[in-house]
Structure formats: C-alpha cells, structure tokens
C-alpha cells in the first residue's frame, strides 16, 4: 500500500503522457515509482486536439487501434482570403482518443511495477540542505508526506514543482497560447484530413484546427498567442464566432480550455533530486503546439538518466544533467529551430498568409508538402530557410 510506504526511488507528479512514460521506463528498470495525479481520472479532462504523427508515436508504442479515432493522410489549409490549399501528407497521422490512450499508458506503468494514485494533489516539496527529498500534499482530505531520491515534475503547463525548487519555469505571455476546443458532432468533415485556418481574424498568433474523429465528429479548437490575448478579445469568443460561421448546426459534446507553452525549453531542467519533463519543461513544439510526443520523449530520456544516476553516484544535479544533454541531442536543436520559425511566422500579416497560400496553389498538388509550405513561408528570410531545411531533414 502506498499509504504505508514512506520512501520511493522516484515520485512523479502528474499522470499525463510524460509522467506515465517516465513511470513505466523507470519501473521496468527496477526502480520503485509512485505517480501522483491530482485529478480523479487519469487522462481526463482531455485538454488536447489529440493529433500525433504515426512516426512519432511508433518511437514509443506500436499504435493500438483502440487509441485511434481517425487516421490522417491529407491536409487542408485555409488562408485569410479563404483560398484553400490541399495536399497529401508524406507521413500519416492520427487523431487519438486520449481518454483511452492516457489510461493505457498509466496501465503500462502499473504493469511495470509503478504505483499510481489519483486525487493526490501535491502542494509542496520536501527540501533538506537545498536538495529535494520528497513531496507533500493532500489525498482526499488527508495530508501526506513521501520521500524520494528523485522527484519528477510532470505537472503540465501549470507546473509549480520546478518553481518550488527555484527553477525558472514561468512562461512568458508571448510564449503561451490561450487555447480552447470543442468536440462537436452533427457536422460533415473529411474523415482523413487535418484542417487548419490561418488568419489574424480567426486566431491571431495561432491557428484554428479541425481534427476529425470520424465523418461527423471533430475536435475544433484554437490557440491565440498571449501577446494578442492582451487586445481584449478572449479565445472563446474567436471559437464561437468560427463555429457560428462554419458549423452553426454543430452540437457540442465537450468543451475544454488550456494553455499551450510555445516557448524555448526551460534552461535548467534538473536540480539536486529533481527533474522536469513534458509541458512542465516547455517541450511542446513551438510551431505545431504538439506536446504528446515530446512529452513522452522527455519522460523516456529522463528515466534513462535517473536509472544511471541512482545506480552510480546518486541523484545530484550533476548526475541528472545528462538528461538535459540527451534532450538537446535528440530534440533540442530542432526545438530551437522551430522556436525561431514560430517567432517569424506568428508575425505574418494576413497579406503574407494569402501570398503563401497563393504560392502553394501555384505548385501542382503532387509536388506540395509541408517542407514546400514552410520554405515558401520563410522565403524572405534566408537564415530561416536553413532552419526549415534542417528541421525537415531531421538534422
């Protein structure tokens, strides 16, 4: 029973894809792991468009049909002047059902030996001699304290774990998307196509997505960049206007809101006895807003480092830093490039966006690709062209 056990090798705060992946890998390597989630359900509410690429998912798990609401092979962009550009994707993607997906990831962690507790809210760290040695919190009205060799902050966009340990994880307003999404039904959508609407008047500093879940259902949402949210119009107003215009007949099954950090990753991801993973370390791709795959990747890399550190020298900051290095080696460079591309494209005017759509329309459909799209988008900035080329070449 977790109530009796006072000490663990690792305590993970937060049961999203990052936390569950860390818990699974660490437990598989023989570490004792406790995962604490404040909500009453793992994976709920689903604050997510649920889009992933097949290749990204495959790094971690063989895609299970149970998780997949739609398979995506095509994409459609709508420019501010309503020019439409469509093309087939080189790589397929999925719209997941994250209620099932997140649940399964948590179950894998449990099968590997981790203990998961829901309704367990962590409200502080135990710190001794400047080292993190555990967590404290409340579980259904009862206070608890648990000690751990390493505490893992997987507590998402609202992460406070790092801040309690003195790490700088506050997201700047200009690096946060204010997001809202409705899962709607009673509409007609192309079952295998991502749709994106790009314009300052639809979603300034962000985009509207229509992600199908079958032929008559979709996740429809948007993010607006914090710097535009200052103008007095909130995200929900933009979404309501869009739905009124495009899908007035839609019934809303679910509404969720949430923040999407489109920031550089936090500089320091570790301290003595502490690691940050997933949204808590700002791992979301700053251009797409996709954070599921980067979250799982950071969970895996952090767990590998944690295992080494505990078997060899202990969880000092120095011994945990290889995780930061591993992140930068695998995903960090392209993250920085995406951040630079984001900084450029979020400044585009509607005229710029119309020109990009026109440029794409001029290319035969079988020659269109995401790479072509981004290349046209940053044509006037040769230095960014190199970033685009490298991001797509995966180097």
């Amino acid at each position: 029973m977790w109530k009796e056990q006072k000490k663990y090798d690792c305590i993970v705060v937060g049961g999203g894809p990052a936390g569950s992946t860390f818990a699974r890998v660490a437990a598989e390597s023989g570490l004792s792991v406790l995962l604490l989630e404040k909500d009453r359900d793992i994976g709920m509410p689903v604050r997510c468009g649920e889009a992933v690429s097949d290749a990204g998912l495959r790094i971690f798990y063989e895609p299970n049909p149970r998780w997949i609401a739609s398979t995506i092979t095509r994409m459609k962009l709508v420019a501010p002047n309503e020019t439409v550009v469509e093309f087939d994707l080189n790589e397929k993607g999925y719209i997941l059902d994250r209620r099932i997906f997140d649940y399964d990831l948590a179950e894998y962690a449990t099968k590997a030996g981790a203990m998961i507790v829901t309704k367990a809210y962590v409200d502080g760290l135990l710190i001794e001699e400047d080292k993190v040695v555990g967590v404290q919190g409340v579980h259904i009205g009862e206070r608890f304290e648990k000690r751990a060799k390493i505490v893992i902050g997987a507590d998402g966009v609202e992460s406070r774990v790092g801040r309690w340990a003195g790490l700088k994880t506050t997201c700047k307003l200009k690096d946060m998307e204010s997001g809202i999404q409705k899962t709607v039904t009673g509409i007609d959508v192309h079952e295998h196509m991502f749709e994106f609407y790009l314009s300052k008047h639809w979603a300034p500093g962000g985009y509207i997505w229509v992600f199908p879940k079958g032929k008559n259902k979709a996740n429809i949402g948007l993010g607006i960049l914090g710097s535009y949210a200052k103008n007095g119009k909130a995200a929900h107003q933009y979404l309501d206007e869009f739905l009124e215009w495009k899908y007035p007949q839609a019934s809303v099954l679910t509404t969720v809101v949430g923040g999407i950090p489109v920031a550089k990753t936090v500089k320091e991801m570790v301290s003595d006895g502490l690691m940050l993973i997933g949204d808590a370390a700002h791992m979301v791709n700053p251009v797409t807003g996709g954070g599921i795959i980067p979250g799982m990747r950071s969970g895996l890399l952090a767990a590998e480092t944690a295992v080494k550190a505990l078997n060899n020298g202990g969880p000092t900051k120095r011994n945990l830093q290889p995780y930061e290095k591993a992140w930068h080696k695998v995903g960090g460079k392209s993250h920085e490039r995406f951040y630079r591309i984001k900084e450029a494209i979020y400044r585009f005017t509607d005229d710029d966006l119309n020109r990009i759509a026109d440029g794409m329309s001029g290319i035969p459909e079988n020659e269109r690709s995401l790479f072509k799209l981004f290349s046209i988008a940053v044509r006037k900035k040769p230095s960014l062209l190199i970033d685009v080329a490298r991001v797509f070449a995966g180097v």
């Binding site: 404040k38 909500d39 009453r40 509410p45 604050r47 309704k119 809210y121 409200d123 998402g156 966009v157 609202e158 992460s159 406070r160 801040r163 506050t170 997201c171 700047k172 307003l173 200009k174 946060m176 204010s178 997001g179 809202i180 914090g226 710097s227 949210a229 200052k230 007095g232 909130a234 995200a235 929900h236 509404t255 969720v256 809101v257 949430g258 923040g259 950090p261």
Partner: protein, 67 residues
C-alpha cells in the same frame, strides 16, 4: 485586485503557468489567488481563454507592460 468568477473556471492551469510570482493555485476543482503576493500585472487576466479572471481596479485593467 484580481477577481475570480469561480463558477466559470475550467481549472486548466494556464494562468498558473504565466503568473510571474507563482501566487495562483489550481486544484482539481478549486482556484486560489494569494492576494498578498499578487503584483496585479494582469497577465493571468489576458491569458485565460474564458474570461474567468478580471481586474477590479479600473485604472489598472488592460494597461500592463509586464508581457
């Protein structure tokens, strides 16, 4: 002072992520602002997707330079 329309809140934690002084706390279905620590920068007001938060001081609202 920041006012919370608690019955509107979705407890998403987005405001927590941007608060520069870490004075907002969001539990499973509970949001608390520590007004002693709050510096009235209004950043949380701007970022909230559904307008749960508002600045009660009319002189201050939407005049922040803190972004």
């Amino acid at each position: 002072m920041i006012e919370v329309a608690e019955n509107k809140c979705d407890f998403c934690g987005c405001c927590v992520g941007v608060c520069p002084v870490n004075c907002i706390e969001v539990k499973e279905a509970d949001i608390i602002i520590d007004h002693e620590i709050c510096i009235d920068c209004d950043i949380c007001v701007f970022i909230c997707p559904i307008e749960v938060l508002s600045q009660t001081d009319p002189k201050r609202s939407s005049s922040s330079e803190a972004a």
